[in-house]
Amino acid sequence: MRRSSDDRLFRIVTGIFPMLVLLIAVGIAFELSRQSMLSIRKFGLGFWTGRTWDPVSGVFGGLPFIWGTLYSSLLALILSTPIALGIAIFISELSPRMLRQPLTYLTELLAAIPSIVYGLWGIFVLTPIVRKLELFTPDWLKKVPLFSGPPLGVGMGTAAIILSIMVVPFTSSVAREILKNVPSAQREAAYALGATRWEAIKVAIGYGKTGIIGAIMLGLGRALGETMAVTMVIGNAPVISTSLFKPQYTMAAVIANEFTEAADELYLHALIEIGLLLFIITILVNALSRLLIWSTKQRKAPVYVFTAPAEDSVAA
């Protein structure tokens, strides 16, 4: 009797803390909405389609930042996904056993380097390299909108490269986990049908498809919210353009740059509203990504039982 009441007390007392975690999640959404009310009331939905960002005259439109965040993340995914999946496949399927641990550790080291260090490296090492590439771009190529613009070094392309490097370890480590969970019977069956090594790997990828899409989305979530490194190399100009050379801006970057300068309440609320949208987008992307990853991991491998027919049944 005494024991069960002790158990109940333990359950309730320790249960307070998970409640706190839920409270934080709800609290962020509540606080960000509350603190952006002025801007939400004044601009309504027009905030998301407005292209003018003019703090002096109090006109705020967030479209250039939304564009910059989505475009840079998309470019980063295009660059990082083949690399990340290649790494995951190499480590889980192809690499000699001896190399597996060190390679895992090295690729995960990329995730441990702070964003500010990426930014520093971006400013002083990557940007000059990109500027050189831009200077050597032939004129006929410059006519394509993707490669138009001044050869500054800072801009959308540099930001996308930095982002893609930062995203690789997240996507590759989850994809590797997913591949590890694919039952080996899947690959063996493919080999038994005469598949080459790559064809067997494709079978394994097909089996873990949902989880791998989840891994890519997890990377997307990271890219959308990345702040410092992008702020330092994207050039910070609220421009909507498909050009890789032109300086642009992202949602996280505008918050980082202008938050402490926001002199009046409306300006501050406009910045927080951008933060609110960033929060909503990343929550949705992350939630979907986790659901996909979980559903793959929890998928029960079919149990194949190969048993020799029992003696007596043969006799009968």
Partner: protein, 282 residues
């Protein structure tokens, strides 16, 4: 060319691509470490650790206040996040099958993906705005919020590694559930949990974005947690975007120190985890 040779060639090409992908990812890693070490180590000197920043134009000076500031900030973050995160992890591992636990686990994972700058805005609204002053407390609060999901998940995972025999033994001796958890199960997993906490501390020590408008920056020596406080990351950022060569060198030195701290902690953690895994192997 027969179909079979064609398939074999495709397979070889794809395998080569995967191996190349690994090399391609290692290039930036090696490059970043190379630049941080060569530029950073040469800019490090005693003054870097003992002096506060000099005004523009005066050479020399260091980041003593920022180093202490970072330690204070992650200390505050740990004080706030470790108790909450550990208790939450204990609950999740004890009642792992309940619907409540799945919801919390999901929330923790999703929170882990919330951009740190958004967490910074939250801390600004909750701590900075009401008292109208940037403060180290606000920065520590923001970093703590970023730590909680990591501590929760590490604690839970490591508690699950504790052999069930330990719990059964404690219960058989007449221990209540709380007694079994706090006197037997948690201590058994404690070394692992502590390493997990170290890794989480290292991660938040490298955060810049949530500090920009919570703990802000401070060029003077300060240990008052109700005042703005310098941190290595914000100081590196300020110096990196400045136009002065001397400040750029200091930024590299700061980056070098950050990377060294994080590398050391992650290597220590990796060794500790490997030892634990060996111990728990039946």
């Amino acid at each position: 060319m027969t179909n079979a040779t064609r398939r074999k060639i495709v397979s070889k090409i794809a395998e080569t691509f995967c191996a190349l992908a690994v090399l391609v990812a290692l290039v930036p890693l090696v490059m970043i470490l190379f630049y941080v070490i060569t530029h950073g180590a040469s800019a490090l000197n005693l003054a870097f650790f003992t002096h506060t920043p000099k005004p523009v134009g005066e050479p020399g000076g260091g980041m003593a206040n920022a180093i202490v500031g970072t330690l204070v900030l992650i200390g505050l973050a740990g004080l706030f996040a470790v108790p909450i995160g550990m208790m939450c992890g204990i609950h999740l591992s004890e009642y792992s099958g309940t619907k409540f636990s799945s919801v919390v686990r999901f929330a923790a994972d999703v929170l882990n993906g919330v951009p740190s700058i958004v967490v910074g805005i939250f801390a600004y609204g909750l701590v900075v705005y009401p008292i109208r002053r940037f403060s180290a407390v606000a920065g520590g609060f923001a970093l703590g919020l970023l730590m909680i999901p990591i501590v929760v998940r590490t604690t839970e995972e490591l508690l699950r590694l504790v052999p069930p025999g330990l719990r059964e033994g404690a219960l058989a001796l007449g221990a209540s559930r709380s007694r079994a958890v706090f006197s037997v199960i948690v201590p058994a997993a404690l070394p692992g949990i502590l390493t997990g906490i170290l890794v989480a501390l290292a991660r938040v020590a490298g955060e810049t974005a949530p500090l920009l408008f919570t703990s802000f920056n401070n060029t003077y020596w300060s240990t008052n947690i109700m005042q703005p406080m310098a941190s290595l990351t914000v100081q590196v950022f300020t110096y990196a975007i400045s136009p002065y060569d001397d400040w750029h060198r200091q930024a590299w030195a700061g980056a070098f120190l950050l990377v060294m701290i994080i590398l050391t902690l992650s290597i220590v953690a990796r060794l500790a985890v490997r030892r634990l895994e060996r111990m728990n192997r039946p």
